[in-house]
Symmetry: C2
Subunit: 433 residues, 2 copies
């Protein structure tokens, strides 16, 4: 389709094309959205709400299997969101589901933990060189919150450095949304610039003797901006500052853990954090979080109240043990990287061919596409809606995820959809200047 980018369209045609996407059957979704608007504030909460996306985007889904998801109207998509991170082995992986179901038939939460809790803790400690102990939760924010609390308990200090734009959860101490949050909730949070050593040092200086810890994602993966690998000097500075000040280096591997790396994203740098928060991909879609820590913080962790009614639920632990076994056996991160690289290569070729200025960033297991257009958000909306219409599910302002279930043929089929999407935004760029 080269050359389509040069095609002149009337304003009418352009508007029609824009409205058209996605023009999939959506009667059931539209009806459910209407019902949801009556019973859920804003029609849906959290990251799966579609009110921030193109009109007509499906919000309600009915099935998922392998690399595919089906919306309630029966439209099938090759999915590149992987439930926003949890799915590494493909949806409804038979061995993972069998392990979880077999455990559930014996005991879910029951009257206490099962031996699986010990087995999984031992497994994580074997796998992750940084880990001397483990506690569990249900969601990423359970683990990041426990990490910050343990850091403060262990140091007797209060200040926590975090990178501006980094997401660690949405409860008061870390919420990126000011609504309902008091200034005191974040009184001891000092924001620094990711990958900026001077900013990190300035933050540490501001904290002074009260520095409890630094919480960082292993690389920068904020929404609506290019991903960035961590600069080795930034990573080293974070480690050094913690060492010099008796502070705790915390990694938020909620999005990266068991996807980019099975044993720690900074292992390649030879730099180890003191506490690491895991969740998402730890159990291929089952609700589980873990915080791993070093021996020096064991007593601090025991002194803190770490609890939730469902935090020792056994079936997700069975799912996690099987997930880790399978990911390790196949070198899951390498397989996901290979699939992701095939996607990234195809997208880069298409962008170049259509003369579309776009950035492709991130580890290939979690790619991100950003347009360098006059209105990047609109361009991403148009691109994603067109890809969706043609059967490939991406997100316009959140990084994507690739699983080991994506076949080469899935990637190639998705690239047919994105080819048309690039063609469209290339035409739009001509129209819109």
């Amino acid at each position: 389709m080269p050359g389509e980018g040069q095609k002149q369209l009337s304003e009418d045609t352009q508007a029609a094309e824009y409205d058209r996407a996605p023009d999939l059957p959506n009667d059931k979704d539209a009806e459910l959205k209407k019902r949801a608007n009556a019973v859920v504030p804003g029609g849906m909460f959290g990251h799966v709400q579609t009110r921030t996306l193109q009109p007509g985007y499906p919000q309600f889904f009915s099935r998922s299997s392998g690399s595919r998801v089906w919306d309630v109207d029966g439209n099938e998509y090759i999915d590149f969101m992987c439930s926003w991170g949890p799915i590494t082995l493909g949806y409804n992986h038979p061995e993972v589901e069998a392990a979880a179901s077999a455990q559930r038939a014996q005991q879910g939460i029951g009257a206490g933990p099962t031996p699986l809790l010990v087995e999984l803790a031992e497994r994580l400690i074997d796998l992750i060189p940084q880990a001397d102990w483990v506690v569990f939760g249900k969601n990423g924010c359970d683990a990041t919150t426990t990490a910050v609390t343990v850091a403060r308990a262990g140091t007797g200090k209060k200040k926590i450095l975090k990178a501006k734009g980094s997401y660690h959860g949405a409860i008061p101490w870390c919420s990126p949304n000011p609504h309902g949050v008091t200034p005191e909730d974040q009184a001891h949070i000092i924001e620094i610039e990711y990958n900026d050593v001077a900013s990190l040092r300035a933050g540490a200086a501001l904290a002074g003797a009260d520095l409890a810890g630094i919480i960082l994602t292993p690389h920068r993966h904020d929404t609506r901006r290019d991903q960035e690998a961590v600069l080795p000097e930034f990573a080293q500075a974070a480690r050094d500052i913690c060492d010099r000040n008796g502070a705790v280096l915390i990694h938020d591997e909620v999005r990266t853990g068991f996807r980019v790396s099975l044993n720690g994203s900074w292992e390649v740098l030879g730099i180890r954090p003191d506490l690491v928060a895991y969740s998402k991909a730890i159990a291929n879609g089952h609700s589980l979080a873990a915080l791993t820590g070093i021996d020096a913080l064991r007593d601090a962790a025991a002194s803190v109240t770490i609890t939730g009614t469902f935090w020792y639920d056994a079936p997700p632990m069975a799912a996690s043990l099987k997930t880790i076994e399978l990911l390790e056996a196949m070198d899951g991160p390498a397989v996901m990287a290979e699939k992701g690289q095939r996607l990234l290569n195809g997208l880069a070729e298409q962008a170049a061919r259509y003369g579309v200025n776009a950035s492709l960033t991130g580890p290939p297991q979690m790619p991100y596409l950003r347009f360098n257009s006059d209105d990047p958000a609109r361009t991403a909306d148009v691109w994603c809606a067109e890809a969706l219409r043609r059967g490939a599910l991406f997100h316009p302002f959140h990084n994507w995820f690739v699983s080991t279930a994506h076949t080469n043929s899935d990637i190639d089929r998705a690239l047919e959809a994105t080819d048309a999407a690039f063609a469209l935004v290339s035409r739009e760029a001509v129209l819109l200047g």
Copy 2:
């Protein structure tokens, strides 16, 4: 066995009896505890840890069904903890599990919510007169935290009154444990005395124009003390203070919801809260939480970031719909009250017969036994360990829970165990003065 209470025992016999309990086979549990001590700080986190109980208490379990649980050494117990609240219909209820499994075979988290999210929200709104809208989470603390955030967003104010000793979660804003918590985390929390109108008014006066809300459990169910029904004048004062100040009345029904009442614990008083946090019993053991709210707070809820990776997971919603259907059809709270009352009647008769001074409190669906002895904690330890040894699982300082799966014969068998436990503490009382 009347008269045994008067029996004189040598100090040696007493010590031996005390050590004896529980003398059940526990090789596997002891081995798992040893392994857990190496990989989990303190050997286990949260409310299911046994380090605060008698030595020999089982910490690890392998099976649960109906009213029974089995520890890893194969010891069977009639369980009165119901996973600390979630189990109302009995463990592994076939219809609930079938609903959850059927949903999981189609989609767990998938690419977005399923129609079940809308159906469940509609169902809760039909059931609960207070509810105009619903959002979901995984644990009780997700719902209480969202409630406080929505109250602050809706009022633009900061102060929250809570009752001293009431538990609403263990994250910084509400943790009862000072370790790792900064003063600022709870800077806007004002503690008042439950059921003390003057204290409530003093708290409101202290908050002044900055009162965002009052969070209360529908009755007092703090650990290590007698439960108390809410005094109608206290409930009314809470409602009035909120109405006069444009503040939000929040109910924490995490422990009581779908157990004491299906539609609101204060409906009998004709007093309605503005926000209600539910979790535990909402899905018979599956991890789910819900916050219900009134129309006036709908926009505030939409303005707040309410999210977690697993918060729209469909199988617990399928479990919840089935659980609610079954509880409503049989009037679950009434059934649980009847079972609980049979237990309470039996315990009261035994305490009287053995001359043991004990308080039995709480709604019969969640009874609590406290000893008025010189050392109530020790007496409770001895009593619970003896009951456990004889096959009935209670807790020495947390209220218990009864499910609809407890048969009269279960209760009567448990009462045989407690008869022996009362006999033992009665003898101990003689010995210890």
